[in-house]
Every structure is written in C-alpha cells, then in structure tokens.
Symmetry: C2
C-alpha cells in the first residue's frame, strides 16, 4: 500500500524493536538513510538494528558514531530503505524477509511494491531527501550527525549535485542540512576528493580496459577480480567507476562490467538523453533510474558484454529511427 | 573604495558604454559573471562589451546567446569581474587599464583594491553569488540565460558544490537559479561529466608525471607544451587538472605546474587544511584562496618546482611544529 510521510512517521512511532534493512553493495544513500533513521529512532528511545548483506567500508563509519548497540532482539517492525527490489537485500535476506517487510521508504520509480507499506517519492534525487521530511514528521531535530548521514545520501546519489536528478529542492535540502551542521566539506572530501592509492591504480586499469562501440556512442569498462588483486583495491571502492565510461565526449551509454567473486557480473549502465538506462537494465533482469541503472548477469564476461551490447544496439537503432 | 551591492548597482545604472573585463585564462566564474552582467546591462538598454585577453573556448559560447553586438565604442565605465589583481587581465591590459577601472566586483580576499570602487564579498564561494544579489538591486529579472551564466560561475568555482568554499547560501542561490531556468543538467554535463578524447589523453599524461614529496603529503603534476602536442589537448581544457594531485589520499598540497607558450609556468596549488595555499602563493608573487591559489613563475621547470617545494616545506615544518 502506498502511504505518505505522515503515515510512515506514525507507523515508526507506533512500533518498536525495529530492524532497518539496507541494500547489498551499500552506497551512501542506503546507508545514509539507514543510519540516519537509526539516529532518529534512538532519539525516540526505540530499540533498533541495521542489517546489510555486505561489509560496510570504513568511510561510512562516521555515520554510526553516537548510536547505541541495542543488542540482539526479535524485530517487531522491519523497514527497508532505498531498496527497490527485495532481491537487492541479497538472495538469503530476500528469502528470509519475503512478505515480512512492514515499510519500505524508497525513491526508485522501479520499486516492486514488495513491502506492506510503501513510501515512494520517485521525484527525489536521493532517498535521503525523503528522510529530511520524515525527521520533521517524527518531530526529531536534525542533529549534526543526522545531517551528516542525510547529506551523504544526497551528495553521493547526485554525484555531488552534478547528475540530472538534482532539483532545486535537492539544493534547498542541502542548504538546510548544512545549516543543521552537516560537515559537508569533510564528507565531500572523503567521497569526491579522495582517491586511495589502490583506487587510483584500479581506475587506471579500468580506463585501460575501455572499449568503444557503435561509432563511439557506447563505451565499456571491465573490472575483474584480477584487477582488484593487481591494484590492491576492492569492491567497496568502485562507486565512481561507472561514471568514467559515460564521461567521454560522444558517449550515450557507459557500461561497467564488474566481476564478483562468484564469477557473475554486476552491470552498471550510465546514459545520456535520450538513452533510457532503466529500460535496458529491466530487460536484463535489473532496474534503476533513467540515467543510471544496473543488473546482474551470471555468465562469462564476453557473453555478458554481448547481451548488454545487444540491448544497447536495439536502443540506439530506435533512437536513429526516431530522429 | 569599498562599496556595497546597492552602490554598485547605482554606479552601473548611472553609467553607459560599459566595458566588462574578465581575467585571462578565463574560467566559468569570470565568464559567467562577465556575460551574466552583459545580459543584465543589455536588459537595461546599455551599450556594453566584454574583453578577455585569452580565447574563450567553445563550451562557454552558450553564455553569449541572445547578446547584441554593440559595436565599437569608447568605454565610459570599466568593470572588472572576478579579477583579484589588475595583472590577471594580462600584462598589456594591466598597463592599458591601470588607474582606469571604475568598478571591480570580486570574491577574492586577496583583492588588491586596484579599482576606484570595489564590491568585495570574500565569503562568496563564487563571484557569481554576488551577481545574484546585484541582479535584484538592478531590478533585472534573472532570465534563464542569466541563470545559466551565474549557475555556471557557481558550479565551476565550487567544483560543483564539492569544495569547502560551498556554503548553505551557495545552495540556496543554486536552487533559485535552477528555479529561474538554469539548465543545470546540461551545464554540469558539459563542465563536469564530459572529457574530450584529447583531454582524457592529457589527463593520463598528467597523472603519469605525478611525483610525491614529503612522505606523500605533497604531489606535483607537470603539464608541458609537449604534452599538449602529444594529446592534442590545449590550455583551454586544463581546469580540472589542479584537483588531481590533491585527490590522492594523504596529500595536503597538490601542485600543478603548467608550462605556457612563453616557457613560464602557471603554478596551481590546491590544499587541504591546515595548509594555506593563498599564503604560499602570495610569497611566490601570486594569490588566491585558502584552499586554491596560484602564481606564475618565469623559470625552468626544475627551478619552479624547487621554489614551490621550498615554500611548501616551510609550511609543513610549521604545521609539524604546531601539532
């Protein structure tokens, strides 16, 4: 059932022993919302716990400062944040929580309505935007720490206000969060102005792998497990890679194929208008936004690339016909 | 004489045949202010012309759309925008306009007060922030085109709201400019999400040249005329290079030495706290902001590097002593 912010706030206020679920391969938005919510709930003296299928890397640790460990408890209310599809929790968690998620707060238009209650704002550039309003409805003051969490969600999901999803409302909220004490300089330094030496090495390898297709309108980057070994980098510091392919002048579709430990590939697609990334990824079993979407394909690299290029070709042909 | 926005607006309103001066090696802020002001002045039916010592590259051309060519005229009022030092106009222009600049609108704390009237707001992240207020004082509506110019100034001078100079007020103004019709998605795509193939090649060469000093706390990049030839790139697309050196984890001072055609070097210094870039560059005959400053040195590359490293060493020693 679709609900509004006031109803979501009521549900959270009426319940206790709350489990907060973030999507796997967590990013700044799901964690910013997750930990931001945890801070809000603890201000309301509620027991809560956050779960994420993957390791939360060090650069997000500041979000947990000031949170109490509520110990182990049987959750009575389960909230998923920034999770468009229950499968994005991880296969195991999807099975475990199937039909049990009480509330989902999300900004993906592609949300599969798997939760009992869904607070969805597809116009929000980041899910964290919704949580600014939620804090007000909950009557929780946005502390500097909550501001840090939500600002991180907004800045990371908009490429620091660079992506086309950014609205004037996004800026208004950013201004408010800065006034509430968000340490934006430090957050932006960590997320946008810092490359570890290992990441810098990985980026070089990734750029070396770039292939161009369809008259330079599509660029494909591959990141293999071998590249992680060579560079000393890891899966937790690859957020910025998907943008690299789209950045080259003339590219409409930038594809990144990232090999997981199980040999499957996480496909990240970034597009420029009129290319619809969400449409392409949906056909490949994934989803996302118009300009940024993804899917996972269990196949060898060449086969994954072939499948993705096939769909991109179809889209490009359609664009050529329409023009 | 220091003046406020209302007085600056009066001066502009009282005068006609206005010459607008931008600094050499023009960036998005000086041009955004310059062309933004041109649009405002033409709305007020004034004759005006913009001068810049260097070529204005293609990506800024959108700023001139809708402007009339007022033909040649003897300027009766001269305004410099985002120009901290008259020498930044170019040596020839500095000589030509010495003592003749009626108004300077600037946001550099290091401004040398060379103009008859100075409107200075050193708290503004971009000079374009001041022009938002100026438009109001002039009673000129911020059209989509003016919004484009001013948004470009703000976004380029803040690294798209990423640099520490960004304030909540910067975001409030960005929100306003977006509501006035700034085509932020396209502007950000052009300035932050597009690398020409030649620039991408130059960036690789620049990164290849990176040397680390002082236990990884200083990184130096050199860009030579030879690299421009090799990559097919040019001086007009090097804005993003100075940030690269500072991005490596642990670096407090990122230095870029860019060789000009006359063999001199433009030094760009980007720092993290507590390193004061402005202080260092001032000692080398330049100036700028706390985290981003520059100077020009007429000497061979090795000598330029030695001079800059010497100053950085002094600063680092001071920091080590203080800690």
């Amino acid at each position: 059932m679709l609900i509004d912010v006031a109803r979501a706030a009521s549900l959270l206020r009426e319940n206790d022993d709350i489990l907060v679920l973030c999507h796997s391969h967590p990013d700044g938005d799901t964690l910013g919302c997750g930990f931001g919510l945890m801070h809000m709930l603890q201000k309301l003296n509620k027991r809560c716990r956050l779960e994420c299928a993957d390791i939360i890397v060090k650069k997000y640790q500041f979000m947990t400062e000031g949170l109490c460990d509520c110990g182990d408890f049987e959750p009575k209310f389960i909230v998923a944040v920034d999770v468009a599809d229950i499968k994005l929790l991880s296969d195991a968690s999807a099975q475990k929580y199937e039909g049990r998620i009480d509330l989902c707060i999300d900004h993906h238009g592609s949300n599969l309505h798997y939760a009992k209650n869904l607070l969805l704002d597809a116009s929000a550039a980041a899910c964290a935007e919704i949580f600014c309003e939620l804090a007000d409805e909950l009557g929780v003051e946005i502390t500097p720490k909550i501001a840090d969490c939500l600002y991180t969600g907004i800045s990371t999901d908009t490429g620091c206000f660079k992506f086309s999803n950014t609205t004037s409302h996004t800026h208004v909220l950013a201004a408010r969060l800065i006034d509430c004490g968000a340490d934006k300089a430090e957050i932006n330094r960590v997320f946008f102005e810092t490359k570890s030496r290992s990441y810098a090495a990985l980026e070089r390898l990734a750029l070396d792998s770039m292939r161009m297709y369809f008259d330079g309108r599509c660029a494909v980057i591959t990141i293999t497990q071998e590249m992680f070994r060579k560079s000393g980098s890891n899966d937790g510091e690859t957020d910025a890679i998907p943008s690299l392919a789209r950045q080259i002048e003339g590219v409409l579709a930038g594809v990144t194929l990232k090999e997981s430990k199980d040999g499957s590939f996480k496909v990240s697609l970034r597009t420029h208008a009129p290319m619809d990334a969400s449409k392409i990824c949906k056909r490949l079993g994934g989803g996302g936004h118009t300009r940024a979407a993804g899917c996972r394909i269990h196949a060898p690299c060449e086969e994954v690339e072939r499948l993705v290029l096939e769909q991109i070709k179809t889209e490009l042909d359609e664009i050529d016909t329409t023009e």
